[in-house]
Amino acid sequence: MKKTGLLLSILIPVGFPFLPLVLWSFAEKWFYPSLVPRQFGMRAWDYVFNTAGSQILGSLSTSFFLAVVTAVISLILGVPAGRALGLHDFPGKKLVMLFLLLPIIVPPLSVAMGLHLWFIKMNLAESFLGVVLIHLTFCLPYTIYVLRGIFSDYNPDFEAQAQSLGASPRAILFRITLPMILPGIIVAALFSFLLSWSQYLSTLIIGGGKMLTLPILLFSLMASGDRPVAAAVSLVFIFPALLALTGSAHYLGRTGLKGIR
């Protein structure tokens, strides 16, 4: 009973903002002050899937590959770093940690502005790689942050046990270490993915509109005032993120997406 009340008091405020998005995306004619659209229709969805389909699909895949590549690189660099910070003690650890985790707090705006000119010179601006690099500046620290937490609860004796049972270092890495930290890897990957997925300004500065990601497309659509289309694209924008969340819900466990921004 009490639990149901609690559930509702969370569900309603969380769910309410989705209501106008859904309603608008199906609205054909909806004049103020009628409560529900006077006429429902698929114009907006038709625009999203047919008229502008290739553009929206294109930006969907740009966003997606950007986020996936960023997440993968973050993991490749972040797993060793997280291990060092979570498992080892060494002089200067605090300072290194500050360095590696500071980009979580500093807004990406300043870094992107600073790097832009040099990225242009090195032909990195408006390129996939350039945008991946700028996303890495804040995704990698988040990955390290998550994996540090995982590794500080990690028992390296599992590796020693495997080695004593005859496992080579390579076998240990792939058969023991990675499976053991798999939940952490999934969470970290999800973090990176979501951060990169929803990034607007730094993508715009470095990608210059050429890297047409969903947020950039949505932003330019917002100027159109075509509310049904903006609502439909917004929903398209949320959907993969929700899918990723649902898919990894099992690994997130009780701590959930602790620390995602």
């Binding site: 004796d157 599992f158 046990q161 495997a162 049972l165 053991m180």
Partner: protein, 342 residues
């Protein structure tokens, strides 16, 4: 044949020496226990033998070959950790077969071996269980099976029983004993529990302060401790000066202290005068009586000013009572060497 040999083994963490100049030799088929209090460095030794820690000095021989420069996975010594450390993403069979897989043993042989080991460790039918579906005792048995199946030259067991309930502990102790008899696996068994070490092993090695203090049969260590610390470790609190208690018995001037086990002291009420004329009896007062079940522990203060611990069965004393005590001659243990200052 010597399965394991340690020669002048010294192990350091950074600059602190944990183990110094350790010598140890274990023969084929022996079950040796390494006994020591918490923090003595037992795990450290096992890890070094297994190749998980580099020694700072000394040599390690397995089956007569020096293995100092072999990595852990190439040594024929398998370490079983204190916690079962089963891989949670593998089932029981896969856990037990892990080592075989690492050695590329073919599937058929592996399956046969796993079946046999499940049998002798009493895990039949649990092969396809997930790890979290096992009880603590079952997990520990899987961990044992995982090591045993590799038939290593030596199996190193790090307090495999300390995480178990007292009831289970007895069962597992028996299981290890019977496995050892069945498979003739040479084992080095680490524990901090003396009764475990005394009851399970052919030979006990006592480790105190990073040094091997004494090595011998359980009875040797228990009844003939090499020094005061060993005696105290085995619960012999009564370490007394010869001069005060045994002025004439003292066999030669060099022996200054002797030990007598609490359960070896004879104690009587001093109202039955007829027997107490013997000069070997002396006076004491009962200070404290603690019933501990099979034995009751008395603290008795003696006239020379020493508090003695006496263990006896079903005593009929009460605190404050005056008693007679006697040290049976054959139970007195003189230390071989002059005791060190501590």
């Amino acid at each position: 044949m010597e399965r394991l040999g340690l020669r002048k083994l010294t192990i350091q963490y950074g600059s602190t020496t944990v183990i110094r100049d350790l010598h140890l030799s274990i023969q084929d088929g022996e079950l040796v226990s390494l006994l020591g209090p918490s923090g003595a460095g037992k795990t450290t030794i096992l890890k070094t033998i297994a190749g998980l820690l580099p020694p700072s000095d000394g040599k390690i021989y397995i089956d007569g070959k020096c293995v100092n420069h072999l990595p852990a996975e190439k040594r024929d010594a398998v370490l079983i950790f204190q916690k079962p450390l089963l891989f949670p993403f593998l089932n029981v069979n896969q856990n037990i077969g892990f080592g075989l897989k690492m050695r590329h043993v073919d599937r058929k042989t592996a399956v046969r071996k796993i079946e046999r080991i499940l049998e002798i460790t009493g895990l039949n039918g649990l092969g396809t269980r997930k790890i979290h579906q096992l009880s603590g005792g079952q997990q520990q048995r899987v961990a044992l099976a995982r090591g045993l199946i590799l038939e290593p030259a030596i199996l190193l067991l790090d307090e495999p029983l300390s995480n178990l309930d007292p009831g289970l502990r007895g069962q597992m102790r028996d299981l290890i004993c019977s496995l050892q008899t069945q498979t003739k696996t040479t084992m080095l068994f680490v524990t901090h529990d003396q009764s475990e070490a005394l009851s399970i092993s052919d030979r006990v090695c006592l480790l105190l302060d990073g040094k091997l203090r004494q090595s011998g049969t359980p009875q040797e260590l228990f009844y003939h401790p090499a020094d005061q610390d060993v005696a105290r470790f085995f619960g012999c609190d009564n370490i007394l000066p010869c001069q005060t208690f045994l002025p004439e018995q003292s066999p030669n001037g060099r022996k200054e202290l002797f030990a007598i086990r609490p359960e070896d002291i004879e104690i009587r009420t001093n109202n039955r005068n007829q027997d107490c004329i013997d000069k070997s009896w002396f006076n004491g007062t009962v200070e404290k009586i603690i019933f501990e079940g099979q034995l009751t522990k008395l603290t008795v203060s003696t006239s020379p000013g020493y508090d003695l611990t006496v263990l006896c069965r079903r005593p009929s004393f009460h605190p404050g009572q005056s008693v007679y005590l006697r040290f049976p001659k054959e139970r007195i243990h003189y230390f071989q060497e002059p005791p060190e200052e501590s």
